[in-house]
Amino acid sequence: MSSLMAAAGVSVPSTFSGVAEGLTVVVLLSEFAMLRAPLSRSQIRLYAFQSLTVTALAAYVAAAKHVPDLYILAGLSLALKVIIVPAVVLRLLRDARVELVASNRASVASMTLLAIVLAVFGIFVIGTLPVRSHSLPTAAFSLAGAVVLVAFVLVILRADVVSQAVGFFSLENGVSVASLVVAAGLPLVVEVAFLFDLLVAVVVFGVLMRVHHSRTATLSTDILDRLKG
């Protein structure tokens, strides 16, 4: 720990890693914002914003490290995750005509504190992995791990279908950031397969939302705890 402190005290990161880490921090912060957003609609907009940040990160790495493949990834994620997926989910939501789902299983402050604890855990655990990347600072990898864990908190502690869908989608954003760190030159096929996975998930969650809403007339999943009869 002391060596870490000494290193932190002396060295200033380069502008590149400063910007890249900054963007990753924005991805993590928008995950926290989704956790507390009261309206399903604002959650989806936050997801679009988070995806836009991931896109910007991919484009920035592509430009700064001369990895042209990443431009294709950035373009695909811009089209899919920033525009199409949020538009589809917003459309589903409009059909459902549910404005506000009271879905917090804990107060916002406690959810945030729990998520902070998990994020700290994730950051330190992943920080100990001996992964050194030439494309992105290692801190981005740890932060991506934190994004995944906070997404789990979102899925578990918000009891409505939209939060679970958005939590799953944003988890994929965390994985994209992690994959940018681990292998910026990852074969494009693998990256596109990730995105395709996301499309499948959108279809599944779309069906789930529709079926759930048509059966229970609500988007809250609290009702599923009760016994029938």
């Binding site: 870490l4 402190m5 000494a6 290193a7 932190a8 005290g9 002396v10 060295s11 200033v12 990161p13 380069s14 502008t15 890693s17 400063g18 910007v19 880490e21 900054g22 921090v25 993590l28 912060l29 926290f32 507390r36 107060s107 916002v108 402050a109 945030t112 504190l113 902070i116 994020a119 700290v120 950051i123 330190f124 920080g127 600072p137 290692t138 801190a139 740890s142 932060l143």
Partner: protein, 323 residues
């Protein structure tokens, strides 16, 4: 600007205190004026706070029956604390003045906390329900914001390996990369939220409200009158300007300070600082006018947000090794 004779460092230090002492009510007046304009009102004169203070100093002091000497001593103690803090912070100069290293961030924080505590103690003594309510709320919320302040201090310690405000200002001034490092930006935003809370601004408190149920800081002074109230009001104006110094000259924009002790440079630093303070004051009024006040029990959400930013700042420093 290197014009004019070189001032004695002690004299420069006196100027730091005088700048806060003299301009604090004026800055508050200017902010109140802008705020009124934004709401479509004509608003008070910029110099109105000075007239208010002059009027209060001429009035008699009334003391509640149950109150002891603490009630009258507290405003003086708080005012004294606010006069000492400007000695410790980089207000006009980039380099530490003779008494500048007398206390670090914790020392300055202790003085500010002592001032807040003494005012809360005086309010608790009055046996008046609203003053006591304000006193207990103010202490509760200042305890809740404390973790964020601590983590910002940790971030400063990790960045500079000291806990001196001068070192943090110098570190963020050093290069473009160090001004935009995520850890620094997160600490800036976290401290911005802390200042928002400490100066009693929306979303935590409506500082112009006359409704006692929504009051936090304002309710503490309800029982004071005359010169004691004047000192409290002046003190709270000075506290606001001191917090602006910390936000602007230590964290957000540590530029435009005098690099030498020449009279011209110090004078220019005063002008630039007041300009920056008015700028951030306008930013606060914009926030005041665009958001609604949080319900009292929702304020913890605001605190959680500030804490999150401060914790992330420290975390990024740890995992990045230099993030």
């Amino acid at each position: 600007v290197a014009a004019g004779p070189v001032l004695d460092p002690h004299l420069t230090q006196v100027f730091q205190v005088l700048t806060i002492f003299v301009f604090a009510p004026g800055v508050s007046g200017a902010i109140a004026h802008v705020e009124a304009r934004l709401q479509g009102r004509r608003g008070p004169r910029v110099l109105q706070p000075y007239y208010d203070l002059a009027k209060l100093f001429r009035k008699e002091t009334l003391v509640p029956e149950d109150a002891s000497w603490v009630f009258l001593a507290a405003p003086v103690l708080a005012f004294t604390c606010y006069l000492i803090v400007p000695l410790l912070i980089p207000e006009l100069t980039t380099y530490g003045l003779p008494l500048g290293y007398m206390g670090d961030i914790l020392g300055g924080g202790f003085l500010l906390a002592l001032a807040g505590f003494s005012v809360a103690l005086a309010a608790a003594e009055t046996n008046a329900p609203y003053a006591q309510l304000g006193s207990s709320r103010a202490m509760t919320f200042s305890a809740l914001i404390e973790p964020s302040i601590l983590f910002v201090t940790f971030a400063v310690a990790l960045i500079t390996t000291t806990d001196l405000p001068y070192a943090e200002a110098a570190a963020s001034r050093a290069s473009f990369a160090s001004a935009i490092r995520p850890a620094h930006l997160l600490a800036v935003v976290a401290f911005f939220l802390v200042v928002l809370q400490d100066t009693g601004r929306i979303p935590v408190e409506t500082h112009t409200s006359t409704l006692e149920f929504g009051m936090i800081d304002e309710a503490r002074t309800l029982e004071h009158s005359g010169p004691a109230l004047a000192l409290l009001k002046w003190g709270s104006n000075m506290k606001q300007l001191i917090l602006y110094v910390l936000l602007l000259n230590v964290f957000a924009t540590p530029w435009g300070l005098a690099g030498s002790g020449r009279a011209g440079a110090v004078g220019l630093a005063v002008v630039i600082f007041i300009g920056k303070a008015l700028g951030v004051g306008v930013l606060f009024t914009l926030i005041d006018n665009s958001f609604s006040k949080l319900r009292l029990f929702k304020i913890t959400e605001f605190m959680a947000a500030a804490f999150l930013l401060a914790v992330l700042s420290v975390l990024v420093l740890f995992v990045g090794g230099g993030g």
